[in-house]
Assembly symmetry: C2
Homo-oligomer: 222 residues x 2
């Protein structure tokens, strides 16, 4: 499948490489074509890896992943071109972190709204699925780095888009039983607000290679 | 030990009963003395169980637990009397849920502040420890209801107060290894913002008897 990855930071490049390993063609997009990090990434891998503008990538991808910084995601998608995105699945892995006010970061949107919802409202013809924002890039593409069973969430309004996303998650190593569908895109609020806890967990654990497992009265022990 | 429990809802009564079972004397406090739920609770148990106003309870307790609705906690503590609380450990288990705007609830405070911090600022001579807000009442006092290992958080500015709180948590059945100290009281932001995710987990699991286990690269599998 042709996948567009918007964002050439560590998340975008890590996801891009993992998708290539799974046999997909990947184009990563940035604000300008020829972004040095993107060019180096594409040259190192060659073949089915390419880079370009957000619009180049969006036009290329059958599925589009938003791996831009959350504070710039709306602008990035506008640059990608709404008409090029229409009808596609947009997997939103971004967090709306505001680091402009120092550490720890706060969120640019939360409580009664979320970045996932903002994207879905801005692009009503796009099928937004929120996922992967709850773990660091290395864990996104290799959940086995965290010991034992742990959970990945998906949320979105379109059932088929969530199914396609879950297939991609399974390719990345997330077992079907580890994936919890939290319902419609408003669940992105909780997924993004979890960042405030995650940042403290990172501090307490001394590593970002962490995640949570959800257990309920019905969960077998182990 | 004499424990004051502020709040006579399901959380307050559940915690009160569990503390009594562990040999503590408990007085639960409400806005007015003679609150029917509190009277029924105290009469049913008798002996070391008593009820009264917030101020009655606060004067009685060596340790004070805030189990009021988060939206009313600041007022409840004012009614309890700051001078009676000075120097004491205040275990804050409340969530600042706003149900006035319908479901799902939003938070009355979040992102760059928290209820835990508001309480600590209002009562600078009190040693506030945030804990237990991340699970439903039944799980607070019987973590074994959730299958397998799972995590409880503590946060607060006073190390000794956190140690005392952790002792109480262990009495309630939380193994020492399940308890993560997230640092100072600003970690209450993440603990409270997790509610937005918890509410969706409740919906997905179909039961409120749930919790998360934190796993990191260093966590043994199992």
């Amino acid at each position: 499948m042709r996948v567009a990855v918007l964002g050439t930071g560590i998340v975008g490049r890590t996801l891009g490489s993992a998708l290539l390993s799974n046999g997909h063609e990947v184009r990563i997009g940035s604000r300008t074509a020829g972004n040095p990090a993107a060019v180096a990434w594409a040259e190192q891998i060659g073949g089915p890896a390419s880079e370009g503008t957000f619009a180049d990538a969006a036009g290329f991808g059958e599925i589009v992943i938003n791996a831009t910084a959350g504070s710039g995601s709306l602008e990035a998608l506008q640059m990608a071109g709404y008409e090029q995105l229409a009808g596609k699945v947009l997997i939103d892995v971004a967090n709306p972190l505001d680091i402009s006010r120092g550490m720890p970061p706060t969120l640019t949107v939360c409580n009664d709204d979320s970045l996932g919802e903002q994207l879905q409202r801005a692009l009503p013809d796009v099928r937004v699925v929120k996922t992967l924002n709850s773990v660091t890039a290395a864990v996104m593409v290799d959940p086995s780095l965290v010991g034992g069973a742990h959970t990945m969430f998906v949320a979105g309004d379109d059932a088929t888009a969530k199914e396609q996303t879950i297939e991609l998650l399974q390719e990345l190593g997330w077992p079907a039983r580890s994936i919890i569908d939290l319902g419609d895109i408003t669940a992105a609020r909780g997924m993004e607000m979890y960042m405030a806890l995650w940042l403290r967990l990172w501090g307490a654990a001394g590593t970002a290679v962490l995640n949570i497992e959800v257990r309920s009265a019905g969960t077998p022990a182990g």
